[in-house]
């Protein structure tokens, strides 16, 4: 029997209070492609960073080709034949491809010979694996797909025979992804071992031999891909949890509050994140936006919330909103009746060093209620905070505590209390229960439904499918900056949504993989 290429035993790792990996064991056989899936924050990247020596595990052992190996740093991992392509590329932007490839693997103190040799080897590698890149191009001039090839070449140049790819397709167009998979198949044929982290079930089904599912820092299961189905994986990934029951009456939608037409957004790096999104939210309904993180939901919330500029047309109660310029800011949005619970409460929703009472008015601090002339009426703010703390059962109840001394759930309640209490016409709410325990989840869900029942419009973004299912009156699924389709909770199931989230539509399922690819490529158009 052959030794596994990699075997991890009992790996644990925590970052302060967060246990990112807990007692994880996994075996990967040589010459296979092994997939790892799991929700955002499940601990996939952490596990692989440990394997690559980037982080040190708190406990556990690593075996490489049967021998126990210490990996104190990346140097050791490279020596053991491991290469890694990080989720966020580790490339020097203003270096050429060649320079990036030889960095850290130079042959001698002078560069010339290293570069010459690398150039030769690069040509060889790129012919062998269809990894064509211009060795003299600067990274900053390359598209993400190309940059990724450089990362793979970097690993191959270091003679890696175990290659780890962390969400390699998150930033790729379908065509590029397809190309990547062909490369991976090529590597596999060469006898190399590939570990592929992804959120996209379609990719798992298509290229992997075995697949492991991680959930909340633990290893749920490892199965042969041939013996499983996307539906089963989706269920494993999301967890066999009791479906949360939210008591809610059927929606009675009224007028359209928010109307988004053909909205497009580029991020700071110039990558198109939203590609012509259109949707409507009515009074008295919850529109749930499902999708894997990074498919444009965050950007949509940010544009609507006034944190980012965009192109297209957005109307609120019939009048258009500025999408660029001074009046596209969050203050103006609030004045127009939009409240926003941001996805990242610690980075955006709260000032962690502020007291709870200061945070309770954050964003509404210019409200006349909290001001007396030039001065802020701190007593009024505190009074208001105390009321919110009581009504939303935030614990501890001391408004003088700083936000960072509250638990995640209570921090979230504080934000939600602040935004809901304004009785906004439209509530934008992102990941309302991320990292929040069951009691708080129920409470938060009740509050959201109650707001709906008071005739307000709600746009809900969540990566938790069951949350979307439980709360939404309509569900739209986002993939790659577009709306893939719309369903109503009663007529769909997690399996179908999971497939949509992976970019596979109903019609695709009846066709062969190749046709799906082509279909996707066509729909994606020419990007990158």
């Amino acid at each position: 029997m052959t030794e596994p290429a990699i075997e991890l035993k009992g790996i644990s790792k925590s970052f302060g209070q967060v246990q990112a990996n807990r007692n994880i064991s996994i075996r990967v056989m040589p010459g296979t492609i092994h997939g790892i899936i799991g929700e955002n924050g499940a601990g996939k990247s952490t596990l692989m960073s440990i394997l690559y020596g980037f982080y040190k595990a708190d406990s556990g052992d690593v075996f490489i080709r049967g021998t126990r190996t210490e990996i104190p740093d990346s140097q050791a991992a490279i020596a053991a034949g491991i290469g890694m392509v990080f989720q966020h590329f580790k490339l020097v932007q203003n270096f050429t491809v060649l320079e990036n490839i030889v960095l850290g693997a130079e042959e001698g103190p002078l560069l010339r010979s290293s570069l010459a040799r690398a150039r030769k080897l690069l040509k060889q590698l790129s012919d062998e694996y269809e990894l064509h890149v211009d060795p003299d191009a600067r990274i900053e001039d390359l598209g993400v797909g190309m940059q990724q090839r450089v990362e793979i070449l970097k690993a191959l140049y270091r003679r890696a025979d175990i290659l780890i790819l962390d969400e390699p397709t998150g930033v790729l167009t379908p065509a590029e992804a397809d190309h990547l998979f062909r490369i991976l198949q090529g590597l596999k044929r060469e006898g190399k071992t590939v570990i592929l982290i992804t959120h996209k079930l379609r990719e798992i089904m298509e290229v992997t031999d075995t697949v492991s599912v991680m959930r909340r820092g633990e290893m749920e299961a490892t199965v042969n891909t041939a013996e499983t189905s996307p539906e089963e994986l989706a269920e494993l990934m999301v967890g066999r949890k009791v479906l949360l029951r939210v008591d809610k009456a059927p929606a009675t939608p009224g007028d359209v509050v928010l109307e988004v037409e053909n909205l497009s957004v580029r991020d700071d790096a110039g990558v198109e994140r939203l590609r012509g999104v259109s949707l409507r939210v009515r009074r008295g309904e919850i529109l749930g936006l499902a999708g894997v993180a990074g498919n444009g939901q965050s950007e949509l919330l940010e544009v609507l919330g006034g944190m980012r500029e965009g192109r297209g047309r957005v109307t609120m109660n019939g009048t258009a909103l500025d999408l660029t310029g001074a009046r596209s800011d969050a203050r103006t949005r609030r004045q127009r009746g939009i409240a926003h619970v941001p996805e990242d409460r610690q980075r955006e929703g709260l000032i962690m060093e502020f007291h709870a009472w200061e945070n309770a008015g954050f964003g509404y601090h210019d409200d006349p209620r909290f001001n007396r002339g030039l001065l802020m009426d701190n007593e009024a703010l505190r009074e208001d905070a105390r009321a919110k703390i009581a009504r939303f059962d935030i614990r501890p109840t001391d408004p003088w505590l700083t936000a960072k001394s509250f638990s995640g759930g209570n921090q979230q309640k504080l934000v939600i209390a602040r935004e809901l209490e304004r009785e906004p016409d439209l509530l934008l709410i992102g990941q309302p229960t991320r990292g929040v325990d069951i009691g708080a989840i129920e409470f938060i869900h009740e509050q959201i439904v109650a707001l709906r029942d008071r005739g307000k419009a709600i746009l809900l973004v969540s990566v938790e499918l069951d949350e979307i299912m439980a709360l939404s009156d309509r569900i739209a699924v986002m993939f790659d900056g577009r709306i893939m389709g719309e369903r109503t909770p009663g007529e769909t199931n997690e399996g179908e949504l999971g497939l949509l989230m992976a970019g596979i539509t109903e019609t695709d399922r009846d066709h062969s993989v190749a046709e799906i690819e082509a279909n996707l490529a066509r729909r994606a158009g020419k990007t990158a």
Partner: protein, 321 residues
């Protein structure tokens, strides 16, 4: 302005540009590695003092040079400890180093020599003497280029030529060696260096120490080459002009030479003419002296090309959040 004047001004330009150039290259190494350094001034100052003091005591300028460089490297080490090991604020550390140098040099000068804040005047072997380049005499007859070679280029101290040679050397090290590649990478994306299995800390310390070495040479040149001894605050803002030159040069060695020569030239001109009279406009001396700073602001404002510092500059490298 006659040709002789021009040769003279060029001669003076080279002398005045030398400390700027050495300090500028020093900053270039440090900042290219991602460690901002507004403490160039301070390191130059301690080097100026220790080189002059030790040269005065031993009578040997080379021993003085060693001491000056050593002192600057000790200060560089402090900056490294603060900004690399303890992940402190690099700017605040630089400010502290400037003050520390300003105070310490005077304290020690007073303690050692009791001549106010100066060292005894250096003479003979305690000072760098000028050296003539080969054929300077023979070529001086050649029209135009002859005098420029014989009088402006030749006849400086060895440190001037070291500084000039340091430019191609810096270029070579940065762009043609493994060390240079890694050093530039660590200033742009330390994560890339770390994941490539190379120690970010070691690289940054190396860069900071080279910075110390070069500022040491700069300071030693001031006190034992250009002047003949140390006087209080004798760097007189040259460290900041070097910083300005570094930005002006957009962190590139040959451009640094150009920028330092330009700023040296401005000083040489302002030394010679108390106002610049262009017929229609008269530019007061104060303005000529402030020109390096003004030019830097203009560059920073992005009106003349954009100066993009190394991307990871100013931030300590933290692997885990």
């Amino acid at each position: 302005m006659s040709f002789v004047d021009i040769v003279q001004i060029l001669d003076s330009t080279i002398r005045l540009a030398t400390p700027l150039l050495l300090a500028c290259l020093a900053g270039l190494f440090s900042e290219r590695a991602g460690v901002f350094d507004i403490g160039l001034e301070g390191k130059m100052l301690v080097a100026a003092f220790f080189s002059a003091a030790v040269a005065a005591v031993t009578g040997q300028v080379w021993v003085g040079l060693l001491a000056g460089v050593g002192a600057a490297m000790v200060f560089a080490l402090i900056h490294g400890l603060a900004s690399i090991t303890f992940r402190g604020d690099q700017l605040i550390s630089g400010v502290a180093i400037n003050f520390l140098a300003a105070g310490m040099t005077v304290l020690i000068a007073q303690d050692w020599f009791a001549q106010g804040s100066r060292t005894p005047a250096l003479s003979g072997d305690a000072r760098f003497s000028s050296i003539d380049l080969p054929f300077a005499e023979a070529l001086s007859g050649v029209p135009y280029l002859g005098p420029i070679y014989a009088e402006a280029l030749s006849g400086h101290t060895i440190l001037v030529y070291i500084a000039l040679l340091a430019v191609p050397a810096t270029w070579y090290i940065l762009f043609r060696t493994r060390f240079g590649l890694r050093l530039r990478a660590v200033g742009e994306n330390p994560g890339a260096v770390d994941t490539a299995g190379v120690s970010v800390t070691r690289l940054r310390y190396a860069a900071v120490m080279i910075c110390g070495l070069l500022t040491g040479l700069a300071g030693a040149y001031l006190a034992t080459g250009l002047a003949a001894g140390f006087t209080k605050d004798m760097t007189a803002g040259r460290g900041f002009i070097a910083l300005a030159a570094l930005i002006f040069a957009k962190w590139r060695p040959w451009h640094a030479l150009g920028a330092c020569l330009l700023f040296g030239f401005l000083q040489a001109v302002s030394n010679r003419y108390s106002t610049l009279d262009f017929g229609i406009v008269q530019i007061p001396n104060a303005f000529v002296l402030a020109l390096p700073y003004i030019l830097t602001v203009v560059i920073l404002a992005g009106f003349v090309g954009k100066a993009i510092p190394p991307r990871a500059g100013g931030q300590p490298y933290v692997k885990e959040r």
